[in-house]
Assembly symmetry: none
């Protein structure tokens, strides 16, 4: 804690790491590159984070702390189920907008086995899924409990979908990732998750009637 306050070095290190990891993947980035981007000496990475793996741990931990926070905050609001979901999605999109690199890294590296931090990831994920279940799925009494394990990851994938392939999509369409996009993204994903494609068709019909 005191380390992060004295200088901005440790902050710059983690930001640089998130930036690079999110684009090249954890193994594709060298400590040297991170250090250069953060304008610090290579040794400082070990000094502050105990090595490259420590950096990823710090990033993943920070990500989960944010998501857990959101889950708790939404739960406290005691909104009706549909509003809860909308609120959660909206908050998540805001988070991704604010900390895009950090979130991407946490998600991209999730399915990848890194012996040194897998244990940490499992523990954080367990807790996170418990929190999210409590705050979101309460309102939807789904008969088959086996569907939970499918819907949970599907929900998160949906939320992240637009950002994960963002860099690639930039090269295909000329879409801009501005505030306007985020607003539209929020609404579209919410609608999709709540009512699926048929929701769009209906609303199309309604709009046509007008």
């Amino acid at each position: 804690m005191s380390k992060t306050l004295k200088t901005g070095s440790s902050k710059r290190i983690i930001n640089s790491a998130a930036y690079l990891f999110s684009r090249k993947g954890y193994s594709g980035v060298g400590v040297r590159e991170i250090a250069a981007k953060a304008r610090i000496n290579i040794s400082m990475v070990s000094y502050y984070y105990g090595g490259k793996a420590g950096l990823l741990k710090a990033i993943v931990t920070e990500y989960f702390s944010y998501v857990d926070d959101i889950a708790l905050r939404v739960a406290e609001m005691k909104l009706p189920p549909r509003e809860s979901l909308k609120e959660f999605i909206c908050e998540m999109v805001n988070l991704i907008k604010d900390k895009e690199d950090l979130c991407k890294v946490a998600i991209i590296e999730m399915p990848i086995e890194l012996p040194e931090i897998t244990a940490v990831k499992v523990e954080l994920l367990k807790n996170n899924m418990r929190l999210m279940s409590q705050s979101l799925s309460a309102g939807f009494n789904i008969n088959d409990p086996k569907k939970h394990i499918i819907i949970g990851p599907a929900f998160l994938s949906l939320i992240f979908s637009g950002f994960m392939f963002g860099n690639l999509i930039k090269k295909i369409s000329k879409d801009k990732r501005d505030d306007d996009f985020c607003k539209r993204y929020c609404e579209t994903i919410s609608a999709l998750f709540l009512d699926g494609m048929s929701g769009f068709v209906k609303s199309n019909k309604k709009e046509k009637k007008k």
Copy 2:
């Protein structure tokens, strides 16, 4: 040409590569490791695929050829929109079941910048999205064209969601990835994409009435 005619060795190489890339990420795997797993000499990787990058290219290309095939096949069926989607999802899940490692690699490495193969990925993705648009979104005349660029990736993310985090989820729940799971997975994802969460609630109500 002789090189592309896969002998047992070159097949083993690509399978080993897919297996390892899917678990450790492209940069996290060494050619030595792949060669060892494929029980061939290290030099053979360069010989057959022109280097490590060539392996990933081959994997990505193969993945897209499968998905393009599915898109074309479904288009030819000329099913109504909802059935088209269901069919597509079902075919995709079968593909993932059959070639899990290959599909995972293609998806995991998608957002990652690898100068040597980014161009290839962009080209393949462009063509793929065109095909998919033709075969699927025809039936859903969505008013706002800007939504396409959101719904497309969302659709694919949804389909892959259950498999991407499979290894991690294995460590959390005791879910088995058997044929039964795949069937349930197909139905749940189809339902979710077509009617969203409200679809589940409705069907719950209906079932309750009975």
Copy 3:
């Protein structure tokens, strides 16, 4: 001068250094490790001893001051040759028992070339051998002077033999390094150096006669 007046810290530093050097060798130990063991800040090593090399110098110097002392003390006793040797060996064993780490370091590092302290070692060793010659070999008028240079080191090696490989021997036999062992050790080494193996055989015969 103030630096040489050992405070608690500087004493702990040198003890920690001796402990670690004796087990891992001079080059195998880092200043950080020493500082951690001594519970002081790393910079203090440079502050007190001018660097890592200074620590070894201090240890070696201290070792020779002890051995020189013993040589002088024994010389002053003016005992007959055999008694002189016994006394010297006994004193040396007591020294090793008291300052085991320090003595081990001095001996283990003796044959190792460390440019920074070789000169010091040579100077100290020269003086020490002169003193030992005076106090011990006086009584044994060995005809061939060339044997001195063989017997001298042999004598010291003999004295240290049991302690040098102590840690390894602990893992082989279940021998304890207690006071009893030291007493026996003293006697055995003295007997060996004075009368060799034949001394043991003779004493065996005598004991058998009884």
Copy 4:
């Protein structure tokens, strides 16, 4: 095995390593330095020996194979006890003369704890001590078995004493390490171990009588 035959590289590596380790200690030598001296690429050390530790293992193993051989050979000669010892000492001195660096490394690094190879050292030493006991101490029926553990190391220390401090002694006396020295060394050490210092005095008296 085939590796050592194809090129002289692996031989040069181990010789260079022995040369440098014997002078600077295992931890005091870098792989770079060894590679430079052996005129090979740094990577070859890992390629042939699996790393720096593998080099030391190879050296220690080779040393023990030589000493075990000597012990067995002397045992087969079935000489009387004193002759056995003389023969063993003589053979050992020849070994040291031939493979001075290798022997020094094995002995210097013996008391040093290197987690990676301590287990190997213990195993080799156990076997070696068993062999030496069988071939040498048979003739000397020493009453107290506790003396064995003192005499064994003392014996070896004695044999090595002249070579361990060789480099340092060169700087003090002007002694040459030629064949003549080795012959004299053999005789002196044998005499010392068999009859101790009193042997010299006696022989002095006898020689004086003449």
